[in-house]
């Protein structure tokens, strides 16, 4: 691919870089417990919790497994499990 002039880059192109591989713990969002308060979406530094039509979901393409969503979830609906090695 040709380089751009002056290394200018299209905004939002980081969606092509998947940080999910960095993760060593995987947050599981238990929809049964979830109260849809949206806090997990708020507090994720990576914007890896998305609100879909149905529910809040973790986007594992990007989630780095920091655990903030789990820690801050008032319903304790998110559980972190080690990534299988």
């Amino acid at each position: 691919m040709k380089l751009s002039i002056g290394a200018v880059v299209r905004g939002g192109s980081s969606l092509g870089y998947h940080t999910g591989t960095w993760r060593d713990r995987r947050p599981f969002l238990n929809l049964e417990k979830c109260k849809a308060c949206g806090i997990c979406e708020e507090v994720c530094p990576d914007g890896a919790v998305r609100k879909t039509q149905e529910a809040y979901q973790v986007d594992y393409l990007f989630c780095k497994g920091c655990g903030l969503c789990a820690k801050e979830c008032p319903a304790k609906a998110i559980e972190l499990v080690p990534e299988g090695k």
């Binding site: 880059v9 905004g11 969606l15 870089y17 940080t19 990576d46 990007f62 920091c66």
Partner: protein, 300 residues
Amino acid sequence: MGSPEKGKREELFVSGHRACPGCGMALAVRHILRATGRQVIVVTPTGCLETFTSPYGYSPWRVPWVHHLFENGPSVASGIAAALRMQKRDHIRVLVIAGDGATFDIGFGALSGMLERGEDVLYICVDNGAYMNTGGQRSAATPLYASTTTDPPGKLSSGKVQEKKDLPWIVAAHKVDYVATASVAFLADLRGKLKRAMEVRGPRYIQVDSPCPSGWGFASDLTLEVGRLGVNCGLIPLLEIRGGTLTRVRKITKRIPVEDYLRVQARFRHLFAPRRQQAELSRLQSLADEKIKTYGLLKG
């Protein structure tokens, strides 16, 4: 463009950036852009934020974004603001989002110049209290007694000697209309301050306490908790200063001793081990007490 709070919220700072897991700064930026909306141009000096959002080919910024150098964010922003005025595009607003090193230290000359000239720029310092991008060296924003790699504790040292440079008041002394401090741990408060700042023209300054798991030494899921402890112990007062006077403070909901805040962070470990450094701990507590008193941070 409606209020970004209502309706379909469009993410202006998207996934795929390379911040450490649990980075407070990354979270702050997501919310800063939520509050400002898309009619902004952002300048970011060299630092963590720049590094984790600038790898060639992969930008999470969905607003126009520029990184130029470490020390010239305010000046690049001034040039953009000047151009926008001449182009009659000054409904578009200019932000600087910069680390504390860029703000308190190497870029402070340029910042002071920008304030003095009265540029229409909102300057936001995402403050993690050290040069984290280069491995956690001392900055003027490093808190008293914190350990950094250039001011480490040792036989002759208990970490940083100086108190944190009081930048919000120094900026306020430049007769800046809007100055505020905020914390990533209080996101609604942060967004509110941004909105109010966006209503003002001229230079404005917001300093956002941004806990950094890698640099401060705490687990990546504790970012908000550490932020809350900082605010609740009084060391990180959340203020609004308008026209040089304190106009609003966020009251402490549940006061805690500073030790509760310090103990969870590796950068203060030397105050507790190998032996407890009581003098230092007391001085930090009285620093917090003083802030609580001066700013009236307690309820009632």
